[in-house]
């Protein structure tokens, strides 16, 4: 492997880690959005019940 290959490999590791982190955070955000919608629905149902 040449010096350029090692440089590309190091860049790739950092980039993939950042992308993975962003994907995990995005997945968590989707879950939180779903849970918030469920709770809002629950609150509306309780309000309508009186």
């Amino acid at each position: 492997m040449s010096g350029g290959d090692y440089l590309a490999a190091a860049y790739a590791v950092v980039l993939v880690t950042i992308l993975l982190y962003v994907v995990i955070i995005a997945a968590k955000l989707v879950r939180l959005e779903r849970e918030t919608a469920e709770l809002a629905e629950l609150a509306r149902a309780r309000r309508d019940d009186g």
Partner: protein
Amino acid sequence: MVPEDADQGISQKIFYFHVPIALTAYACFGWGALKALLLLWKREERYDLESYVGIHQGTIFGALTLITGSIWARASWGVWWAWDSNQLVLFLVLFLFYSAYFMLRFSVEDGPRRANFCAVYALFGVALIPVSFLAIRLASDFIHPTVFTREGPQMTGTMFATFCVAWAAMTTLAYAFYRVELAGKRLDSNLRELREALTA
């Protein structure tokens, strides 16, 4: 454009993100320890989560430091790891110490007792940061290069400017991750409380 290093060639460019990542890892561990100190001092619950997230970020950046450093070592020295370099070994010890923090955290039941244990553990670890940082200057081996000396940075103006930009970028990235993760965890906790209140 930053010139290529006369000795190492293009692989030296790993320096521009390896060192900023390492410095960011130190900063995150230090931040986590500072929040742990504030928890023990002021007894405010929020510092526990802030300390945890800081250490979590430090562990991510620490892992990246070890991986990119290993790749650079292979390119420059021909080996993936050098056990006789104090800087490398002490950084590994620091990383493993804070990795064990999560084992402690998830083995104790949630509450003030866990917060206190974790805060004390995080504070012990902070002692390793200056030791790890200064190891290269105190050590008798010269395997790991010393770029920042008492005479200033041992690089050209464009190299130093590039390094500063990379360092600022990495610190900003870590701060953004810290805020996003902290907000996510707080939101998670608030939603759990809300669910309990609504379903009670």
